[in-house]
């Protein structure tokens, strides 16, 4: 790869120079003088009443400064905090513990080892209560009520939500020749970024200023929330998110320990640092999925898909802490119609409380598009099985056609653009689909079990239009500020925060593209609320669709300002100037022109400008997207299954992605690679299950398995480019596409391999045991302990 002189294309990343030297700065690397260190005492039980907490022995530890309990916080009105879904969550438990791993006390000591030691000295008396472990029993009349903290609550019901036309859907189903139904569990998994969550709270008693260093994907939203929770005026709070070691949605919410660290700093007058361990990360921070789905698909006898009907039971854990736009309690799940032209569709979702950690919307799911896409792609494969039609052929017959865009689906989304058949055709060609099927037939003769799985997905990213989309009342628009210095070098300040996406490079390329200067002449500032404009942050693949558009529009404003300045320099009318990269010149006389660098100098000089025109070139933009963008893709996975052991080996994975215009193709491909590995992990090994007592069975990387380099094949990528018609750059966003689209391809491949055994479906993760049991006709249930 070589650095291109300007604009879009492959270039090496600006941030890598520090990372390869070990010079990144993650929160745990930040050293503030006088820092104290904290550890969190957590509940060993899933459901219990707290009858007493004795902190005296811990407080007597020579290195312990303060022990904070729920009672201490309650005195300050901090024992409970709002969640991102209109619920409240205990900061430190006061009445009951509601999941194993819940925060009970916060110990602050001189050093982290002593803080850990002192946890054992806090004595908590629990009165155990029966836990709700199986979401399917959460609404039973005799189920223990988890949220008795909420007045008048007598059950574990959170919400009912639906989309689409139920009556019309029922009518189509009633008249359909073929109906296929399946229960599908998308089990609880975890984003598990390699850097765990961490915070340093530093409250200055003299100035009243609170500085919070935190692993956050949304520093501005965290500042506003911290102001709301703590009562500290928002202008006296600075949130700094330095380098972030992966997020994937895990670092969107504010966690109880962050609030405790703030309280601790206010109590001690010293910076308080807390870094969670891996078990805490896996057991207590935001999980993902946990959707118990029942899907039905209706078609004609010749395979024209007619309708989709879906019921979901959503396990939200003990507090409703999902992070999604307020009006969408099930996120964007109603994109479950997928990539197909349906007459009708209806989905309904019921959310319930269980005695498990809160969360649900995370792990690159694009607000539940992951669950939706997985379900519809399983159903299409089951329909193909029922009709005995090739699954590629069935998809090709039913995909939306290019002329149908913009397309409004049965549940209300308006897809912006796409050429789906082209992507699928490219996939089949790239993979050598026909040859693969021939190989499969040959090997079946030999008793070998090759499986070929397809998926086609439509993503919905770039949330979103502020008229429809907000999180805790904050509209999902993002700002960008572009300053051009007198020498023509630029600084772009953005509201979104990279967790590895390479914003320092991609956003510099956007400005470079718009202004015709080199990306190395643009510095990107992010992650510090004192230095950047407001915005909602990076998740839901929204950085390029929203903030990228803001950067582009700000740069175009700069360009227009430059035009005025150039017209004054050249003493011609602005209308007589034309733009070429980096330069305004007189129409018809390219030699008479001024470069951006010359214009920037002039804009800061004593040059006479027309009346009403300010000096300098700086500009800003708050971008309110008119619609989501809808990237899409077609994936194919080839597996080999050993029916004697149930082991699955992924031989090939071919991915065609269309995310519109690609700003830096290398970065796009890298994001796809990562998401494909997620698909291997989720489909084959990642799982958080609970035993009957509510004990978490995935609390370390010994139990929560992530794919390694030998579990992943060498990814084969191809692309189509269908620009978004409404995004200024035609870009659509890519971050979560592969995580959303790939699990179905893997599972479909395994099911394809098991077809000779009469297996229709098995739930993820397809571990050796799960595959073998599926072959025996006794599938394992993934959300509960294996007995």
């Amino acid at each position: 790869m070589t650095n291109t002189p300007t604009g879009f294309g492959r270039m090496t990343r600006k941030e890598d120079a520090r990372f390869v030297r070990g010079r990144g700065t993650y929160v745990d690397d930040v050293r503030l003088p006088g820092t104290l260190h904290a550890a969190v005492l957590r509940s060993p039980l899933a459901h219990a009443r707290i009858t007493a907490i004795d902190t005296r022995a811990a407080e007597a530890h020579p290195k312990v400064r303060v022990v904070i309990t729920g009672a201490v916080l309650a005195d300050r009105g901090l024992a409970w905090m709002p969640t991102l879904s209109g619920d409240v969550q205990a900061v430190l438990a006061t009445d009951k513990v509601r999941f194993q791993g819940q925060e009970v006390a916060f110990v602050i000591a001189d050093d982290p080892y002593s803080a850990r030691d002192a946890l054992a000295l806090v004595d908590v008396d629990y009165d155990p209560l029966p836990p709700v472990v199986d979401a399917r029993t959460a609404l039973d009349p005799d189920a223990p009520v988890i949220r008795d903290d909420r007045e008048g609550r007598r059950d574990n019901h959170i919400f009912d939500w639906e989309a689409g036309d139920a009556a019309a859907t029922d009518r189509v189903f009633a008249g359909a020749a073929v109906v296929v139904a399946q229960d599908v569990l998308y089990p609880r998994v975890h984003p598990a970024p390699l850097e765990t969550c961490a915070v340093i709270a530093d409250h200055d008693v003299v100035t009243g200023k609170l500085t919070v260093w935190a692993t956050t994907q949304a520093p501005h939203a965290h500042r506003t929330l911290l102001a709301t929770i703590t009562g500290i005026p928002e202008h006296r709070i600075r949130v700094v998110s330095p380098d972030v070691g992966g997020g994937f949605g895990n670092k969107v919410p504010i966690y109880p320990a962050y609030v405790c660290a703030v309280a601790g700093s206010m109590l001690t007058g010293r910076p308080v640092k807390w870094t969670e361990d891996r078990s805490e990360n896996l057991m207590a921070t935001t999980f993902a999925r946990d959707y118990h789905m029942h899907g039905e698909i209706a078609s004609t006898v010749d395979g024209k898909i007619l309708a989709l009907r879906v019921r979901v039971l959503a396990d939200h854990g003990a507090f409703n802490g999902t992070a999604q736009p307020s009006k969408y309690p099930a996120g964007f799940f109603h994109i479950v119609t997928g990539s197909y032209d349906l007459e009708a569709a209806h989905c309904s979702v019921t959310g319930v409380y269980t005695n498990k950690a809160p969360g649900g919307v995370a792990y690159a799911c694009s607000f539940r598009v992951a669950e939706a896409s997985f379900l519809v792609e399983r159903l299409v494969d089951l329909l193909a099985l029922e009709l005995d039609v090739d699954p590629a052929e069935l998809r090709m017959r039913n995909l939306l056609r290019p002329e149908q865009f913009p397309y409004t689906c049965s549940t209300g989304w308006e897809y912006d653009s796409g050429d789906y058949p082209r992507a699928l055709a490219l996939l089949l060609e790239t993979a050598g689909y026909r040859e693969l099927r021939a190989e499969q037939a040959r090997r079946r003769e030999l008793g070998e079990h090759l499986g070929i799985g397809l998926s086609f997905f439509t993503e919905a990213v770039g949330a979103g239009p502020r008229k429809h989309m907000d999180i805790v009342g904050l509209g999902m628009a993002d700002g960008a500020e572009l300053r051009v210095h007198p020498t023509g070098k630029a600084v772009l300040r953005i509201s979104v925060q990279s967790q590895g996406q390479g914003h320092e490079t991609t956003f510099a390329q956007i400005v470079a593209h718009e202004l015709g200067i080199g990306p190395d002449d643009v510095d990107v500032v992010h992650g510090d609320t004192d230095a950047t404009p407001f915005g909602l942050g990076t998740y839901g693949s929204r950085s390029t669709p929203v903030s990228g558009a803001a950067a582009s529009m700000a740069a175009r404003k700069v360009r227009e300002r430059a035009r005025i300045v150039a017209s004054a320099m050249l003493e011609v009318s602005p209308d007589d100037l034309e733009w070429s990269p980096g330069r305004w010149s007189v129409r018809g006389d390219p030699t008479a022109g001024k470069s951006i660098t010359e214009i920037a100098a002039a804009a800061h000089s004593d040059l006479d400008l027309p009346d009403g025109v300010e000096g300098q070139l700086d500009a800003s933009c708050v971008y309110n997207p008119p619609n989501l963008t809808f990237p899409f893709g077609a994936y194919l996975c080839v597996v080999e299954v050993d029916p004697g052991t149930g082991q699955v080996v992924v031989r090939r994975f071919v991915a065609v992605d269309d995310c519109g215009v690609r700003i830096n193709p290398s970065i796009v491909e890298g994001q796809v690679h990562g998401g494909l590995a997620d698909g291997i992990g989720v489909a084959l090994m990642e799982l958080i299950a609970f035993d009957p007592d509510g004990n978490h069975l995935g609390g370390s990387f010994m139990d929560y398995l992530l794919p390694t380099a030998v579990d992943c094949p060498s990814w084969e990528l191809a692309e189509t480019v269908t620009p978004s018609p409404h995004h200024p750059l035609g870009a659509k966003g890519i971050g979560e596409c592969a995580t959303v689209g790939s699990p179905a391809a893997v599972v479909n491949a395994v099911m394809d391999a098991l077809r000779p055994f009469g297996v229709r479906h098995a739930d993820m993760p397809l571990t050796p045991a799960a595959v073998w049991r599926a072959i025996q006709g006794r599938p394992l249930r993934g959300d509960l302990a294996i007995d």
Binding site: T12, Y26, A677, T708
Partner: protein, 157 residues
């Protein structure tokens, strides 16, 4: 107890608790924060450093075990401004995203190339199989190590 450890060629003498983990000794006592920790259970490999020339997971080695030995960390890979070929490979092939696993990956890659200057992609995957990456899907990491094999026959010196 007092220990003397040579880290990246420089001897450090410190008084430490026996229970201090090597990763914390490097990060907290010496300020070498390029070595990260990520899992506590020796599964993720973001803490890999060389101990007497052999890659180990420093979250599962006591600092006192390094007494009298040599440690090399990511900060010791480059020679001044000259990056090691594995560092250049990771930049050239987009072998990192969030950067958190990168130091450990680099240290193992360096060791691999020291012992096998021309590893196959399968060899590379196997060598790195004790280290997790959540961003790259490993593809570009493998390409980065191959790049280093092809473009830098020996470590920066």
């Amino acid at each position: 107890m007092q220990i003397a450890v040579v880290v990246n060629g420089e001897e450090h003498v410190r008084d430490v608790e026996p229970r201090l983990l090597l990763v914390h000794f490097l990060r907290e006592d010496l300020g070498l924060t390029g070595t990260h920790w990520g899992c506590d259970t020796s599964n993720c490999g973001v803490c890999v450093v060389h101990l007497d020339g052999v890659p180990v997971k420093s979250c599962t080695v006591l600092a006192v075990m390094a007494d009298g030995r040599e440690v090399r960390t990511v900060e010791g890979l480059a020679r001044g401004a000259d990056l090691d070929p594995v560092q250049r490979g990771f930049i050239a092939c987009h072998g990192l995203q969030c950067g958190f696993c990168t130091p450990g990956m680099l240290m193992t890659a360096r060791w691999l190339l020291d012992h096998d200057p021309d590893p196959s992609t399968e060899d590379i995957r196997a060598a790195l199989s004790g280290q997790l990456c959540r961003c790259t899907g490993y593809e570009n990491i493998v390409r980065s190590v191959r790049w280093a094999a092809e473009n830098g026959s020996e470590a920066a010196s």
